[in-house]
């Protein structure tokens, strides 16, 4: 009995991977059986077959054989990357400057807190009425979704820089610019990257929301079209694509996070 328990709780590689695979198989089987027991306009199975079109075959068709779908995917990725990159470029320096200048921080802090907790999706009608339907209003939506988590975490990080280290810098007669590169940025980077990881998930929501509510385009449009046609396999396949994007962005951010926080002596 205790041997069985020890095996179950072991974090040996083979046990861990075995558990992951088993769990995924159970999930897939469940999905498959639910898919087969509903009408195809309500739910699609994973693999599917005759008169129950499957999600995986549809995904394969989309990615491999559907030029138009690939264009939609590219459109979405472009939208995401542009909005996200702009959010990083603006939020990181602002966060560090705010940590260095108490007055600026006091002036902006309440706005940031309010906007950080505001559901950005509620702002979409304003953006629509003020800026219209183009590419750039959509970028603004993605930007807004990503901006505040990064700013917030960067500010937290830059504010928690050890005063002892700033004192060392001062004692060695460092210039303000050198303080940024030697102390503030390296210290803040792990926090910023945590913000970036959180922001990646939010920006993805922003991307789909923008493609829904402004001029439909990209994966959002594919999703709407498929759902209007009661094509559940298509809907689920697109959801899988979006999920895949999310996991990819998150993993990339995580990899950076680990790389640049190695000096903390954890994750080893």
């Amino acid at each position: 009995m205790s041997k069985v328990l020890a095996l179950i709780n072991s974090d040996h590689r083979s046990v861990r991977w075995g558990t992951v695979i088993f769990s995924l198989l159970v999930g897939a089987a469940l999905w498959e059986s639910v898919g087969w027991s509903f009408n195809q306009a309500i739910m699609a199975p994973l693999i599917g077959g005759a008169d129950h079109p499957g999600t995986i075959p549809r995904l394969y068709k989309y990615i491999v054989h559907d030029e138009e779908y690939r264009l939609s995917l590219l459109q979405s990725v472009q939208l995401f990357s542009t909005g996200f990159a702009l959010a990083v470029v603006f939020s990181v320096p602002l966060g560090i400057i705010m940590a260095r200048l108490a007055t600026l921080r006091v002036a902006l802090e309440s706005y940031i807190l309010v906007l950080y907790v505001t559901p950005m999706i509620a702002l979409i009608p304003f953006i629509l009425s003020i800026l219209g339907f183009d590419f750039w209003p959509k970028v603004l939506v993605v930007f807004l979704f990503a901006f505040f988590p990064i700013l917030y975490n960067t500010l937290e990080g830059a504010r928690s820089v050890k005063p002892e280290l700033l004192e060392v810098a001062k004692s060695f007669r460092s210039s303000e610019v050198a303080i940024w590169f030697d102390v503030l940025i390296p210290y803040t980077l792990p926090y910023t990257l945590t913000g970036i990881r959180q922001a990646a998930g939010r920006a993805l929501v922003g991307m789909v929301a923008a493609e829904f509510f402004l001029a439909t385009s990209g994966l959002g449009e594919e999703l709407i079209t498929a759902s209007r046609n009661f094509d559940m396999a298509g809907v689920l396949a697109t959801i899988l694509v979006i999920t895949g994007l999310g996991i990819t962005f998150m993993r990339i951010a995580q990899a950076f996070e680990q790389k640049y926080s190695a000096w903390r002596g954890v994750n080893r």
Partner: protein, 273 residues
């Protein structure tokens, strides 16, 4: 480790690496808290002065003022006649908390001050290994601070300060955070390094033994707000080494300072509890 004690360091040949420091009736206040007052001290060239006093009596604050990190509230500090207002070339500090940059390697930490001072890559590549070797950290160039023991981290902090080839070295309880055996080793190594390149050293400690062992003179801080209670000429034979600890004069001085500070230490203890 073998270091030739008279090795040609990168900056050998500079005959004058020491400075004269004058402290004229300085005081320091944090708001309503008067930390110390009416402190008058002179530090000579190539002299080791230890400053001893109980925790919280303002030793760190005093060093910060001397380094130019903090303005004094009263009086003035002059180094080579120049008024001290902001950190100055030729003065380097070793911190109680080590103050290493955790994301920099030992090499980068030791080269930090040189880089800020505008040294070329070649100059840094020449000097840094010399000082890493001097403090006995050979082979750890590319280690990060979290991979080093406390004693080794402070060796790194010491090398970073020495690399500036300062004429004034300020030491703020540099060995307070390392274990007892390591502390002893580091004390003697520091004296050995000082012998090779003598400079004005102001060494702050709360350990009476350390103060007597390291100092040419011992300054005893006492009172609330604190001020200089006594300045003792140590006059122990050079070189100071383990045998110094057994010298009758050493225990005599230690007991003397202990007697002076005992009531103060007690008061501080009750203050904390």
């Amino acid at each position: 480790m073998s270091v030739d004690l008279n090795a040609d360091g990168p900056a050998d040949g500079q005959s004058d690496r020491s400075a004269r420091i004058e402290i004229n009736s300085i005081g320091k206040r944090y708001g309503d808290l008067q930390v110390f007052q009416d402190i008058n001290l002179d530090f000579n060239e190539r002299e080791i002065v230890t400053i001893v006093g109980p925790s919280g009596c303002g030793k760190t604050t005093l060093l910060r003022c001397i380094d130019g990190l903090l303005p004094v509230s009263e009086g003035e500090i002059r180094i080579e006649g120049e008024l001290m207002t902001t950190p100055r070339e030729g003065v380097a500090m070793v911190f109680q908390h080590f103050g290493l940059f955790p994301w920099k390697t030992v090499f980068q930490n030791v080269g930090y001050g040189l880089k800020l001072a505008g040294a070329s890559k070649a100059e840094i590549a020449e000097k840094v290994p010399y000082f890493i070797n001097l403090v006995g950290l050979d082979g750890f160039d590319s280690s990060f601070p979290y991979q080093l023991s406390g004693g080794m981290q402070q060796r790194c902090g010491l090398a970073r300060a020495l690399a500036m080839e300062p004429s004034v070295l300020l030491m703020d309880e540099p060995f307070a955070a390392v274990d007892a055996q390591t502390r002893e080793i580091l004390q003697f190594e520091l004296l050995r390094i000082w012998d090779m390149r003598p400079m004005t050293m102001i060494f702050v400690t709360h350990s009476i033994e350390e103060a007597v062992l390291m100092g040419d003179r011992v300054v005893v801080l006492k009172g609330r707000p604190s001020s200089v209670f006594e300045i003792i000429d140590v006059n122990l034979p050079a070189p100071r080494d383990r045998s110094t600890l057994a010298h009758p004069r050493f225990s005599e001085l230690r007991e003397h300072v202990w007697g002076t500070l005992m009531d103060e230490v007690r008061a501080a203890e009750f203050d904390v509890n």
